[in-house]
Amino acid sequence: MEGRKLRGMFGSQTKPETEEGQNTMSQAGPVTETSSQAPGTVSARRAKTLEAKGVNLYYGDFHAVENVTMTIEPNKVTALIGSSGCGKTTFLRSLNRMHELTPGASVKGDIYLDGEDIYGGGVDPVAVRRLVGMVFQQPNPFPTMSIYDNVAAGLNFNAGKVSKGDKDAVVEKSLRGAHLWDEVKDRLDRPGSGLSGGQQQRLCIARATAVSPEVLLMDEPCSALDPVATLAIEDLIAELKKEYTIAIVTHNMQQAARASDNTAFFNLDESGKPGHLVEIGTTEDIFTRPKQKETEDYVSGRFG
């Protein structure tokens, strides 16, 4: 299972492995067994930590996010909340290097995945995105592909090629993991676009987990869904954190309270100013004993 390491994918850059224990996840050899599970097994594993240090994000000259330093803990759900335009989504997209795909966008600061700088020189953004998967606001299954092919899409890319038999197993495991298998197992060859919105979103989650990432980023994954489908996704998130580190952007305060372990509150002073992180803490603390007045006003619904 190569591709676990950011640098492993382009050879020469292999940096001397450090002695700290926290880096063991990125080493080749026996330790990778923890991360490359045999298809079908459901035991918990330790995912990776994402650490942002002094992250500033820009669209051209526009300073969108200012100086964010925070840690997204492994096997926990971290909710990013805050009013519209405060940079939550922009920040989320910087965590798997999707931000830079917008023309003119740029990043300053460092983001570490278990100690490895994902913006380091020689790091391939494609390799980063294989380790840090993403689920979008609008369900976006590939419309010309069957349900099966949608889940297997990432496995067909060069970096993640697997054999046909393994592919069947991974597709089934991913669909089961996304609580979708029973609903689609008899029509895997039908187009993914024929599913309901909630099913499509679970299909996208299955697609993202099929390439076995370490971290899952979710950008308001339930905003296009009805309450029942939303609940299904939230149950799924609770399940997924056993295997992955999860960061979720949400506008729904109840959702943050229900589904997350940690909560980060973003805000901006006024429109046109960059968004920044106000505070981060356990979800319970943020919602019951916030340290900042701003946070208290927001979570109690007094503004936003």
Binding site: F142, P143, M145, G154
Partner: protein, 317 residues
């Protein structure tokens, strides 16, 4: 939320808005659209009727009455073959190139280069076909002579490069190249348009899975644009099949059916044949030329029909 105090009130408002007569603007627009649609249909039918009535005498005449003393079928068959060969050759060369150019412009090149290149490709469409013909016979043809010589030597075992290679360059291969350049703008313009409309959420979906740029294009951009690209290719094919001047000027014709692309002896195409022979024809010979036009009409109609079937099949899964 509007609240209506009484049902009569609401009823009156609804009646005023939608009942009775349709709005005038709607009526004018719908009538204009119907007229436009009927005109197109009438034109098509008119052309077909003309071709059939004028071509009919030649279709029913006996071999001895026709100009070359051969049956109409054996007269038109090599021409139809030449037409299709030139068209297919042009497609084989132009379509992959057009897709590559469109992808380069929409997904690879930096904005400024992309725009310039787009203009340049569009400009190719503004060049009259007579100029292409002259360019083909004076520039491309002679330039292709050594290449065709090489093809004959190295790949002569293939029927298409059997030779003997032409020393003037007035071959089917050169015609195919010129036609390819002529249809490149239309095919690439259609492809460019649809590629640039690929939904961003799909492209990002692929990229978030760790797709490289090419993998992203393969999984999202190409499938999204497939049916439009086929349509664009058919537009190009239509132009290639009907192209007259460039072919008439360049191609050295001997009649007969051959797949040999680099020799001096080539089948003519229907359109070029009409252009070359019309001035010296009279009586039944003219009817025969018009009847070949009917065959060209049928070929074009058939290719469009097949293309639509391909598109329909690829869309409904």
């Amino acid at each position: 939320m509007a609240h209506f105090d009484t049902t009569t009130n609401a009823g009156q408002i609804l009646a005023a808005a939608s009942g009775g007569r349709r709005r005038r603007g709607d009526r004018i627009f719908s009538n204009a659209a119907v007229v436009a649609a009927v005109t197109i249909l009438a034109l098509l039918v008119g052309v077909a009727v003309f071709l059939v009535t004028e071509g009919f005498p030649a279709l029913t005449a006996s071999s001895s009455e026709l100009p070359k003393g051969e049956s109409f079928i054996s007269y038109v068959a090599p021409l139809a073959f030449g037409t299709c060969l030139a068209g297919v050759l042009a497609m084989i060369i132009a379509v992959p190139l057009a897709i590559a150019v469109a992808l380069f412009i929409t997904h690879i090149a930096p904005a400024r280069i992309a725009m310039t290149l787009g203009y340049l490709v569009d400009l190719l469409a503004a060049i009259p076909s007579i100029i292409y013909g002259l360019w083909g016979i004076f520039v491309l043809g002679p330039a292709a002579v050594p290449v065709m010589k090489w093809l004959e030597e190295k790949l002569g075992f293939l029927p298409i490069f059997e030779g003997p290679a032409s020393i003037t360059g007035r071959t089917m291969l050169v015609v195919g190249l010129v036609l390819a350049v002529m249809i490149l703008p239309i095919v690439s313009a259609v492809a460019r348009e649809v590629f640039s409309q690929t939904p961003r959420k799909l492209q990002e979906g692929a990229q978030a899975l760790g797709a490289t740029r090419w993998e992203m294009i393969r999984t999202t951009v190409l499938p999204f644009g497939k049916s439009s690209v086929i349509s664009g290719a058919m537009l190009g094919l239509g132009r290639a099949l009907g192209e007259t001047m460039a072919v008439a000027i360049i191609l050295s014709v001997s009649g007969g059916v051959t797949f040999n692309l680099i020799s001096q002896a080539n089948p003519s195409t229907i359109a070029a044949n009409v252009a070359l022979n019309f001035p010296e024809s009279s009586g039944l010979a003219i009817n025969a030329l018009i009847a070949t036009g009917l065959v060209l009409f049928a070929i074009t109609l058939a290719t469009n029909f097949i293309a639509r079937m391909i598109i329909a099949r690829s869309e409904v899964r």
